[in-house]
Symmetry: C2
Subunit: 193 residues, 2 copies
DNA sequence: AAACTCTATTGACCTGGGTTAAGCCTATTT
DNA sequence: AAATAGGCTTAACCCAGGTCAATAGAGTTT
């Protein structure tokens, strides 16, 4: 159950067996069925979750009632409404399983305790957040300076696994374009642009 | 010189005098004149900088030669090309002073050493990055689901200080809209939308 | 296998905001 | 104080991509 988990953490910091055993006590394994919610907008996000197997997506519904996918989380990714998790304010996103999924969850109280008992986890999450930060930065730049077609091409290049596993209308939503537009883009690309 | 600096850090973690003295040895004070570059696209970003006084902006030039402002940094904010700073790859952004500015800089080697000598700084930066992460997330959601006018109104609400200190065309660039559009939006708002 | 439900495609039409270009106003610079 | 530059506004025009609507598989349910 913890294979993917420890291997991902050890890409960033090293852990000894004692630390691993302590970590295991803080995380709760959970299985989600396809289409099952992990979090609903308006609830407080009590857990930060690591995907061991499967696929999650998070999305928000805007003031006009439109859904926008914010992020997908494959094996080895974390998912949560970070703001809600750390402040206990209401979540602004929904998290849903796109496939049957196995996760490891930690509550915010446990998170606090974990960083005190295994301080190197502050370092792990510092590195994790700093990496996500620059990925988001790139996405933000891309959302402003690229055309819909350029965004799609970049997405396919950097997320080949998702293209296989996620329906096309969800990729459109993630890219912030209409599904009809994505369909036309694919046609253009097939015709050699 | 370190007043704003320590007060900001101590909003997130507490430091004793010994830790403060150690930290002081890692940071280099520097003064920048208005319009002076702190970093240019293509160079490696050697420093992470904290703004004690003044105002920085970072921007990138896209494939089409268009400039996009990514972020402003007022007193109490950090600025750098995080990715370049941590990986030593070439920076994709420029950082420039919009006013005469005083900063505290730390090199990446010093950063590493600092986190080893004062491990609570891993925690400080974990919290800092996690907060920036959710701010970026919000901006990304906003860039997709709001109209140009809504984006501007939100910006004014959440950044009143910047509206005073930054020229309008730069705010337009930050919001990803044409300066002409922003001018029209302000007119609309003045006319009661 | 018929009835639903989801997803993708295609066409016709429309609009928010980009582009181009001109003119104006306020600071700097010389 | 004249010249130059940077910033702001306005108008005319245009287009990438959104919206609406119809059609058609592909997968599920009864």
């Amino acid at each position: 159950m913890f294979e993917v988990f420890f291997s991902h953490i050890q890409e960033k910091v090293s852990l000894n067996e004692v630390q691993k055993d302590i970590l295991k006590t803080f995380f709760i394994p959970k299985k989600l069925r396809k289409k099952q919610y992990l979090l609903q907008q308006g609830d407080v996000c009590k857990y930060l979750s690591f995907v061991e197997k499967g696929l999650l997506m998070s999305y928000n519904v805007d003031d006009k009632g439109l859904e926008h996918i914010n992020m997908f989380a494959l094996e080895g990714w974390w998912s949560s409404d970070i703001h809600s998790f750390f402040t206990h304010e209401n979540a602004v996103i929904n998290i849903e399983a796109l496939e049957d999924t196995e996760i490891l969850m930690i509550s915010s109280e446990s998170f606090e305790e974990m960083t005190l008992k295994v301080p190197i986890m502050d370092r792990y999450f510092r590195i994790l957040f700093q990496n996500s930060l620059f990925t988001k930065e790139r996405r933000l730049i891309s959302s402003i300076s690229h055309t819909a077609q350029e965004k799609y091409i970049k997405f396919v290049e950097s997320n080949p696994a998702l293209v296989q596993r996620v329906p096309q209308n969800m990729i459109a939503s993630y890219l912030g374009i209409a599904p009809e537009t994505l369909s036309r883009i694919k046609k253009n690309i097939a015709l050699g642009k």
